[in-house]
């Protein structure tokens, strides 16, 4: 399903910039596809995104981080700022999410984010929601990420709406990873379901795991038609940080057509 590894001798893969240029060119040519989601798009207003993932891997969190870095790169730099944006970010986990998928590990986080993390270990979903809302109300946070397991009673439409409103009012993006949950009511602006996909073969060691890939389905969005993508993370293929901010969400190939 995925692009195969280019044979030696063929020209190198298009860089992300080139790819997004071609995509935007295609968008102008085909107005019907202009509304489609693609990586590198500026966030629509303020973000409240839910990502549904399974609890036996940390795919959802990795995708949220990839989206975050994508957004941070897409956001125009403040021309008046004399220092780079080094605001902290909040990562809230409830007890069950910590037990199932573990706690953040600093050496494995993206280099641009690892020193700015504040981790909140909440016991219950109520505490986690409280922490999420407090984080959204804080002007000194770059973004807030949450991991909540299952469909707790506290996370109903009202709570979800509160989070959306707080994120909109104070301009702090929220990435909420839902582990092992079914798709209940929510007021999130974008809702994704993600699962891991087989990674690409790395160039040098075919037996090793390669660049992470995800099968991501956008099933609810205000601005974009739903669809399914295979997202790939360039530059983290070997799991090492290769220098720059290297997490890139790339649209590799559209698998499902727009369903309207």
């Amino acid at each position: 399903m995925l692009q195969t590894r280019p044979d030696p001798g063929t020209p190198p893969e298009p860089t992300p910039e080139l790819l997004s240029d071609t995509l935007s060119a295609a968008a102008t040519l085909l107005p019907a596809r202009a509304a489609e989601w693609r990586p590198g798009m500026p966030p629509e207003g303020t973000t409240h995104v839910e990502i549904f993932a399974t609890g036996d891997s940390t795919t959802g969190t990795a995708l949220a981080l990839a989206f975050t870095l994508d957004h941070l790169r897409a956001a125009a730099a403040d021309p008046l700022a004399d220092t780079p944006d080094e605001r902290a970010w909040l990562w809230v986990q409830d007890r069950e999410a910590q037990r199932r998928t573990g706690q953040p590990y600093r050496p494995g986080l993206p280099r641009a984010l690892r020193h700015r993390l504040i981790h909140v270990a909440a016991r219950t979903a109520e505490d986690a929601l409280f922490a999420l809302e407090e984080g959204l109300r804080c002007r000194e946070l770059a973004f807030v990420m949450g991991e909540i397991t299952g469909n707790p009673r506290a996370l109903d439409m009202t709570a979800s709406r509160r989070l959306s409103l707080a994120a909109e009012k104070y301009g702090v993006p929220l990435w909420l990873v839902r582990l092992d949950a079914h798709r209940d009511l929510s007021s999130a602006r974008q809702r994704w379901a993600v699962r891991a996909a087989a990674s690409l073969e790395p160039r040098w060691n075919r037996a090793a795991p390669g660049e992470p890939s995800w099968q991501a389905e956008l099933f609810r969005s205000r601005r974009h038609p739903p669809g399914t993508w295979t997202l790939r993370d360039i530059g983290r293929g070997t799991g090492r940080d290769t220098g720059q901010d290297t997490l890139v969400a790339e649209k590799a190939r559209q698998l499902a057509s727009v369903t309207g």
């Binding site: 990795a62 804080c138 799991g239």
Partner: protein, 538 residues
């Protein structure tokens, strides 16, 4: 009141005596000879030899072997009781002996007060537990008409407090202590005097040694300080070569007494904790009224702190109830603050489980820990409604509800073992500079709280894993990379810790894990190597 000390140089170079500035210092030692009894008398409101003090009385402490006498009054001493005796023994000598419980903690608090009060004679004072105070009176004696005048003044002032004391002034704390405890009354050792000669006749107990060492010296036949000087020094050095603490080594004490090695003292500083309180006309029983009082108190506290350009880090709220119960709630915040609305809001959560009972009649707020905080713009709470809160306020709210160990940030730590390469600290504490992290190894996004054992099919003895079972689900390993061998850190771990061979694997669905085999066959540190799953990649 807080005590803090400067760590002085504890250079105990015994062989090379150096001349320090101590020759010009003047130290006053105050020894309260019967501190416990004097305190008991003051608490009872009795003069010396009056009322209950006229009869034999002993202060006792409960020990594992029964009550033991801590201190006796004059009548008790005349009847034969002594401090350190068992009460039963003393009762056989003096059946009429009455007892009262000793209060060592109260004595220590009293001594702290006394040390601060004794700064009237000099700028620095230090505690000399259990019953002494040491004051540095260097350059201050002329204010009292010389050293004899200072001693007379101290005697008069302490007699007004009805304390029985012995005083001495000497160039070093050790000499002053020795003279106060074992020398003549109001002894003064002038800088020109030779301390070895003047103090030579004092017993070895004047060296502030512990009881074992004194017994040992007596058995060696060394009863006076001059005896100690008579023995060749090398012999004593050899005899006490493994006694590091000063109280167990007579040579260190002797050098301190002579001023050959410096002796750091921990000065007592009086710091005033800002405190505000409200006494209420009517005991309050309802939460809304308590919130009102709390808002008033935090406003008062903000004013008090603003006057001193301080911000509170720790606050204690005491609620005095009508039925003589005191409820105390403590609050510690991430950054110094004196914002009344913020503080009141944080306390609000802490008050949810307070049972007012018959009512609360007094509320007191005390800032036990303050830090300098310059004047700044006020009214942060209403701006928080519009522009969001500050990070410190956000951390405070999270900490108050979730506990201080729930809000943390990861910090790198120099270690090869993965779970040890990260530790947690408070979110706003500064990060220590550290060596850059190793970037040539792949590390997972998340670590499980503790590695979970998995059943693995692999090519024994040390081949790649093929298939494993984790949390009741089977995973086929499609791709694997490894091993990355991490040896145990022998400087931290026990000798039985096994090495680990880490593998980066991907299963048939593309899920990526970090697993390791603990040990290898035949390493002599256990039987079959076990497998664990420790980390997860995205």
């Amino acid at each position: 009141m807080q005590k803090w000390g400067r760590s002085g140089g504890q250079g105990c170079n015994l062989d090379a005596p150096m001349l320090t500035a101590s020759s010009s210092r003047r130290i006053l030692a105050i020894w309260c000879t019967r501190l416990a009894i004097d305190r008991w008398r003051l608490l009872e409101g009795l003069a010396e030899g009056e009322g209950a003090d006229a009869a034999p009385l002993a202060l006792i402490a409960e020990t594992a072997h029964g009550p033991r006498i801590v201190s006796v009054n004059a009548a008790g001493f005349a009847a034969g009781a002594k401090g350190g005796m068992m009460l039963a023994d003393a009762r056989t000598l003096c059946p009429a002996l009455t007892v009262a419980p000793a209060d060592p903690a109260g004595d220590l608090l009293f001594l702290e007060d006394l040390a601060v009060w004794a700064q009237r004679w000099g700028p620095w004072s230090a505690l000399d537990p259990p019953d002494g105070v040491i004051v540095d009176v260097t350059g201050a004696t002329h204010l009292f008409g010389g050293e004899a005048g200072l001693l007379a003044d101290a005697h008069a002032a302490l007699a007004r407090r009805q304390l029985m004391v012995r005083l001495a002034i000497a160039p070093t704390a050790g000499a002053a202590w020795a003279l106060a405890h074992h020398g003549p009354q109001d002894a003064i050792l002038h800088p020109a005097d030779d301390p070895a000669y003047r103090l030579g006749h004092l017993p070895v107990a004047a060296l502030r040694l512990d009881d074992d060492t004194i017994t040992l010296l007596k058995r060696l036949g060394l009863k006076r300080l001059e005896d100690l000087r008579g023995v060749h020094r090398d012999a004593l050095v050899r005899r006490f070569r493994n006694r590091r603490s000063a109280a167990a080594n007579p040579l260190i004490r002797m050098d301190q007494l002579l001023g050959l090695v410096p002796e750091p003292l921990l000065p007592v500083m009086a710091t005033e904790a800002p405190m505000v309180q409200r006494r209420l006309m009517e005991p309050i029983r309802h939460r809304s009224l308590l919130d009102r009082v709390l808002a008033d108190l935090t406003a008062d506290m903000a004013r008090a702190l603003e006057g001193q350009a301080l911000g509170a880090r720790r606050l204690e709220l005491g609620l005095w109830k009508v039925d003589n119960e005191v409820v105390v709630r403590r609050l510690e915040i991430a950054a110094p603050s004196r914002d009344p609305v913020h503080l009141a809001g944080l306390f609000g959560r802490k008050l949810e489980d307070v049972d007012a009972g018959f009512g609360i009649e007094m509320v007191r707020l005390r800032a036990a820990w303050t830090e300098p905080l310059a004047l700044a713009q006020r009214d942060l709470e209403s701006s928080a409604e519009n522009h969001g809160t500050s990070l410190a306020a956000c951390v405070d709210r999270l900490t108050v509800r979730l506990g201080s160990d729930a809000v943390r940030r990861p910090i790198a730590r120099a270690s090869h073992v993965p779970e040890r390469a990260q530790r947690w600290q408070a979110p706003l504490d500064p990060e220590k500079t550290a060596q850059a992290e190793f970037e040539f190894h792949a590390r997972p996004l998340k670590l499980l709280e503790r590695p979970e054992p998995i059943a693995v099919i692999y090519e024994t003895p040390d081949g790649l894993p093929k298939r494993f079972r984790w949390r009741n689900a089977a995973h086929d390993v499609l791709r694997a990379e490894g091993p990355e061998r991490i040896a145990p850190e022998w400087w931290r771990e026990r000798s039985t810790a096994r090495l680990r061979d880490y593998y980066r694997i991907e299963d048939e669905q593309g899920r990526r894990y970090w697993i390791y085999r603990s040990g290898v066959w035949g390493d002599g540190r256990g039987g079959t190597p076990e497998w664990f799953l420790q980390g997860l990649w995205g």
